[in-house]
């Protein structure tokens, strides 16, 4: 465990895994152009736990979508391992999402008529080096609920399935959109603990977006967003354990 932790720390100080450079994003709403992001420049380092914090409408989800290859910037570049996602074709973005990124959604987005295990299979079946579905279920502590359908699971359990689904592909980057947003305090903390463990033990780079500043205390670095711009950024020298977070 110590070794893993050391490896993760070493990676944090190396080359950035992903670099956003002068990124802007404008949405055309009918005849009105809505500017959602302006001039975002941000490095995401390999193995770090990064929190993007800001009120709703600050552009958090848009950044996450750009990092995740779900959207393209209007201006600027998004470099992942040196490759600009802004120029990537649909096919390349699909490949990127498939191999490099794991998404965790606020509302879990599980396929309603597939069981927990099948929801994970949906993800492993297309990845080139997936983890074993049952192993991932054990990792999130849901081995007993493998054959349950989403409707038969609690919110926390659903979110853990969603995390398991993201991890199962064995991605480099784990992107979490308000992962505790729909959960109660206690369950939220358990989910947070899971994400921290994945970061610390497996060395996954984790990006979490949240409007809840308290959550950011577990992160290595916190980026504050306001009205589509980065308002501040701070290194967190002593991240707290999820169990100690209060909100």
């Amino acid at each position: 465990m110590t070794d893993e932790f050391a490896a993760a720390s070493a990676a944090k100080n190396g080359q950035p895994l992903l670099r956003m450079d002068g990124v802007g994003r404008t949405f055309q709403m009918g005849e009105v152009a809505v500017v959602v992001l302006t001039n975002i420049t941000l490095d995401i380092r390999r193995g770090e736990f990064l929190a993007l914090v800001g009120p709703s409408g600050s552009g958090k989800t848009t950044i996450l979508n750009l990092i995740g290859g779900m959207d393209r910037p209007s201006v600027g570049s998004v470099l992942y391992k040196g490759r600009n996602l802004a120029d990537a074709s649909d096919r390349e973005l699909t490949r990127y999402r498939r191999e490099e990124v794991g998404f965790v959604f606020q509302f879990y987005n599980l396929v309603p008529n597939l069981t927990a295990r099948e929801n994970i299979l949906v993800s492993t079946e297309i990845a080139s080096a997936p983890r074993d579905a049952d192993e991932v279920l054990r990792l999130v502590g849901l081995e007993d609920r493998a054959e349950h359908f989403p409707a038969q699971l609690s919110g926390g359990e659903q979110q853990r399935v969603s995390i398991a689904r993201a991890v199962a592909k064995n991605p480099e980057l784990l992107l979490c959109d308000e992962p505790t947003g729909a959960l109660d305090f206690k369950t939220g903390k358990r989910v947070l603990r899971l994400l921290v463990d994945l970061n610390r033990q497996l060395g996954k780079t984790v990006v979490v977006i949240t409007h809840n500043a308290a959550l950011a205390e577990v992160a290595d670095r916190v980026v504050h967003l306001r009205s589509g711009e980065i308002s501040s950024m701070e290194e967190n020298q002593n991240p707290v354990a999820p169990e100690e977070v209060v909100w």
Partner: protein
């Protein structure tokens, strides 16, 4: 490849099984129609080809008064005539001991010894003629079975005024009489009309035709088939001195014409009807898959976020449609095969084939299946495609709220004010979901068109029967006399017991010519005040016979390109063959044959006689004992060539047509029901699924289940009735096309549309909409409102 997704698919199919079943049944009916009709078409076509080859079916028939065989040699030298055979053929009256009424038949001569011959027979029982007796007969199989006649029995025929006793050596069928019709009818009645094959020498003897014939059948050289008209014209010119009654190419031969019409009609319907169903299925499927794709917007976004390619997502939704296509195709093909076996059996009842079999046509299966899949794919494409256009990030966001705002109709304030708020809601919803509403309107249009075509077909048959057999030709019994006779023949018939009323007829066959147009046909001379044959126009008005000139049936007038006032030349088939000029006085409507009427006195004068009679029409006393006595007398009556019991003929025709109508209407209503029901259930359920929250909110506001149901009913009535009304003219058009396609010189279907038809079609549309709404109402009644309210945006 992607197993978890396939499991998702399987569960979704299970969940929407009701709707999918509705669409599957529409596809299945389409494929069934195709497979059934196409198979029946192939079965009939193959049976026809085989049968014609086996019997060496002739390519033409020439009927003459009497031609010496020696004169026929020149016929063989005509370019295009490959071979020919002379025959002697006459109508006969059949006198069966246990049957009170005289029956009709046709006597045809065959070579005394078995040899290859044109229009050959296929023996079913017994054998060919022997050398033991002159008076041997082979009876056509259907008549023999209907009348229990077996080889070894003796039967009596009235031939050339003499009662002949004939020994039955066998029963047989021939391709020449695949569809065997007695004179003046449309459906075969084997109990009343038979074909009797006798030895050539016997026929020569009985009819005084030593070394002569009155019919020549022949085959054309296949390589000169394109010039058959010239060939036949030459043959006619050659035989003209011997009195040519008619020259009939195979195309116009009655049996062949009915059979070929049926086959062609089947082929055409096999293309049209399934297209209607499959188009409706594709449209309805489109609505469902679009809805499914929209409903799964977030799932699609998630799959894309997970790294699924557009192709994989697309294939997933396509598979949904494909499974419907496969299910519909397989079900339709199986039902179609069963139905084709049934249809083939029905055809066996009307057409006499040696080997009409219901065969499995794999190509038809495969094509039916392929068409079903294409329709399913076409139906799924749009829905699946629309979701691919979305970027994953966009797909994950809930769908933007549906378009709001006023619809066009609202600008017409005066009109808009007339609607209650319930109707306004329905109208807005209909206009805002244009694709879905258009799909529902289209389906209803096709359903109504199908109903209208069917109802019109029935109405048309009824009108036909009434016009032709109750208003135009009203006799109970028709007698055809041997040649033309004087007034005393009529008087003699009037003396018979049970004859209430008798009217003379004079039939004069000949060639009509008008410019380049010519046609062989007979003029029927009637009394000016005839009650038993009354020419009518299409409006049902009696057309009075002019003192001079002719009344032509519309079809004949079209063939000759004449109008009232025009002159036509007419060359009767008489010894002298003097060409006469006659004026076309009026046009009558007739749906059978190419009748031409004239005043019998005028016609007699044209023929150079004072008064001539060649047939008598009778109105008889219906009492059975009187009728029995009349029949007994008729069997003995000399100078009579044929007797037709028109009352029985009409009864048989009516019975057959009505029986078929019953089945036809039943099938049609079920088919149209499948379309209406499937479409209404589908579009209402999709509507309901999309508006669950709205419905739940209405419930929360205190609306009853029934008043919510009424909102949906209004919508389906709006689209359905619009579609049904638009479908009425389409149905009319389909019927008109059918009538035009089927029209020939023998029989034509009138195109009749009464308000009742529109009423029935719209009535059924309402019934089906209500039935389908019952399902929707049930769903509303059982819906969990609290859950629906919780649905997240």
């Amino acid at each position: 490849m992607v197993r978890a997704l396939n499991r998702k698919l399987a569960r979704e199919i299970c969940r929407s099984k009701g709707l999918l079943l509705a669409i599957t049944s529409i596809i299945a009916v389409g494929v069934m129609c195709y497979v059934a009709m196409q198979s029946a078409y192939l079965n009939l076509s193959a049976a026809k080809t085989r049968y014609y080859r086996m019997c060496r079916m002739a390519d033409f028939w020439v009927d003459v008064k009497k031609v010496p065989l020696a004169e026929l040699e020149a016929l063989g030298r005509i370019r295009g005539v490959a071979e020919y055979q002379p025959r002697i053929t006459f109508p006969a009256t059949v006198d069966l001991e246990n049957v009170p009424e005289p029956l009709n038949g046709q006597v045809i001569s065959l070579p005394d010894r078995r040899e290859p011959t044109l229009n050959d027979i296929l023996l079913r029982q017994g054998g060919y003629f022997t050398d033991r007796r002159e008076n041997e007969v082979i009876v056509n199989d259907a008549f023999a079975r209907a009348r229990n006649i077996y080889p070894g029995q003796w039967i009596h025929l009235l031939l050339n005024d003499r009662r002949q006793e004939l020994f039955v050596v066998g029963t047989a069928i021939s391709s020449e009489f695949t569809y065997l019709l007695g004179p003046g009818t449309l459906v075969p009645d084997p109990e009343t009309y038979g074909v009797f094959y006798v030895k050539r020498t016997f026929a020569e003897d009985v009819f005084d035709f030593d070394g002569a014939a009155n019919q020549v059948v022949g085959r054309l050289s296949p390589e000169l088939a394109g010039e058959s008209n010239d060939t036949l014209r030459s043959a006619e010119t050659l035989l003209e001195p011997y009195g040519v009654f008619s020259v009939t190419p195979l195309r116009l031969q009655a049996s062949n014409q009915f059979l070929s019409n049926e086959i062609e009609g089947l082929g055409a319907i096999a293309a049209v009807v399934p297209t209607i169903f499959l188009a409706v299925a594709a449209v309805v499927l489109n609505v469902l898959i679009t809805r499914l794709a929209r409903q799964q917007r977030v799932v699609i976004g998630t799959l894309k976020a997970l790294g699924y390619t557009n192709g994989q997502v697309f294939a997933h939704f396509l598979k949904f449609g494909l499974s419907v296509g496969v299910a519909g195709g397989v079900l339709g093909a199986l039902l179609g095969y069963t139905a084709s076996a049934g249809m083939t059996q029905v055809y066996q009842h009307f057409f006499q084939f040696p080997d009409l079999r219901s065969q499995l046509h794999w190509n038809t299966f495969a094509l039916g299946m392929a068409v079903s899949l294409v329709c399913a794919i076409a139906g799924s494409l749009h829905g699946a495609w629309s979701m691919l256009q979305l970027q994953p990030a966009e797909a994950m966001r809930p769908e933007p709220p549906a378009r709001g705002g006023a619809i066009l109709l609202e600008r017409l304030t005066l009109v808009w004010k007339l609607f209650s708020s319930g109707w306004r809601l329905a109208l807005r919803s209909v206009f805002r979901h244009r694709v879905r509403s258009a799909a529902a309107v289209f389906a209803a249009m096709m359903g109504a068109a199908l109903l209208v075509t069917g109802f019109m077909m029935v109405q048309s048959q009824d009108y036909f029967l009434d016009f032709q057999f109750y208003r135009t030709m009203r006799s109970d019994i028709d007698l055809v006399l041997k040649g033309s006779q004087g007034r005393e023949a009529l008087d003699e018939v009037r003396q018979l017991p049970g004859v209430d009323h008798a009217e003379p007829q004079l039939m004069v066959a000949g060639t009509f010519e008008h410019g380049p147009f010519r046609r062989k046909e007979a003029i029927i001379g009637l009394l000016p005040d005839a009650r038993l044959t009354i020419p009518h126009d299409a409006e049902g008005r009696r057309i009075p016979l002019p003192r001079s000139g002719l009344v032509l049936s519309r079809r004949m007038a079209e063939i000759l390109h004449v109008r009232p006032g025009d002159q036509v030349s007419f060359t009767p088939v008489q010894e002298e063959r003097r060409t006469l000029e006659a004026t076309v006085a009026q046009i009558a409507d007739s749906y059978m044959g190419l009748t031409i009427y004239a005043d019998i006195h005028y016609l007699s004068r044209l023929m150079g006689e004072e008064f001539a009679v060649s047939g008598v029409q009778l109105q008889t006393d219906p009492r059975p004992d009187v009728l029995r006595r009349l029949n007994h007398e008729l069997k003995q009556l000399p100078g009579v060539e044929a007797i037709s019991d028109r009352q029985r003929l009409v009864e048989n025709l009516t019975k057959t047509l009505l029986q078929n109508q019953f089945v036809f209407i039943g099938v049609l209503v079920i088919f149209a029901g499948v379309i209406f029901f499937g479409s209404v259930v589908n579009s209402s359920m999709v509507n309901l699924a999309e508006r669950q929250r709205e419905v739940a909110t209405f419930r929360a506001l205190g609306y009853s289940k029934w008043s919510i149901g009424a909102m949906f009913l209004r919508e389906s009535l709006l689209t359905n009735m619009t579609g049904a009304v638009l479908g009425l003219p389409i149905g009319y058009g389909l019927m008109w096309l059918t009538a035009t396609a089927y029209a020939n010189d023998l029989v034509r279907l009138p195109v009749i549309a009464t308000p009742a038809i529109w009423g029935w079609a719209l009535g059924w549309a309402v019934v089906f909409a209500l039935l389908a709404h019952a399902v929707v109402q049930w769903r509303i009644n059982t819906m969990n409102y609290l859950e629906a309210l919780k649905v997240k945006e």
